[in-house]
């Protein structure tokens, strides 16, 4: 692939490609935060008091 072909590949449908990148980032962000929430460690509960 020469430089012209590479440039053409980047320029063609650039709006759609930018939108795809944005959507990909949003997907990635959502999934990443889900994974983060799943593996979050909570502090231990306080001991129960006898009534």
């Amino acid at each position: 692939m020469n430089w012209d072909q590479f440039k053409n590949l980047c320029i063609r449908n650039w709006r759609e490609k930018l939108m795809a990148l944005l959507l990909a980032f949003l997907f990635w962000f959502m999934i990443k935060s889900q994974i983060g929430a799943g593996s979050r460690t909570y502090p231990p509960l306080p001991p129960l008091r006898a009534v």
Partner: protein, 267 residues
Amino acid sequence: MWEIIKQHWRDGVEILILAVLVYQAYLFFRATRGARILTGLLMLLLGLALVSQLLELEVITWLLQRISVFLAIALVVLFQPELRRVLAELGSHRMFSLNRPDPESLDVLLEAMQQLSARRCGALFAIKRGIDLRLLAETGVSVDAKLSPELITTIFHPKTALHDGGAIIDQGRIASAGCVFPVSQREVRDRAIGLRHRAAMGVTEETDAIALIVSEESGALSLAYRGKLEHDLEPEELRNRLNELLTFGAAAPEPIQEEPTRELGSI
């Protein structure tokens, strides 16, 4: 800077892979019947998911997680024709589809198309490549004859029994004629595009065949490949495009669009 790159290069690769997948999905689904539904659904879900993540709305997050399974099944049902096309294209890689007719039979076919165009006789051909067209061939009448302009013009003469269907070309021979091709459901804005053109788009959506069309109305020559219609081509233009597609297959360069309406079946 170097530290940030070292720490987050995996994230970058992940986002790039996702972006390629999203862009490819867009290319597959654009201009299809379900494209608008998909866009609406995607925007709604993405918006909801983002809001619920940012504001930590647990109920909405829980709801989205639960319905995602049903949604996946619904999407498979909704996009069944498009998914079939994706799978057909996977099997139609250049390596698997080197079934190209010899240049002599292409000349015969193009000559016949020009004769049909001059007489305003509509015609539809599907040139078989890698994917078997037996199921479509069975809907018509088996011919199995060598290509000749006389035979083709006879088949598509309006007073004959086989003229109202498609002919399947396999290795320089007319395998069948009068075949019923699936009609494309893509949105086409041009009202001059009739059922014959839609059938050409349909057969190329579901298989890796190349469809050639002679318009009954205007005598225009068109070509369809991968569900896209290249309408009203000059004979020389058609020959070059056909040679390109038969030589390079899916890797053939996209046609240069002089005017936006010439290539139909895409946004």
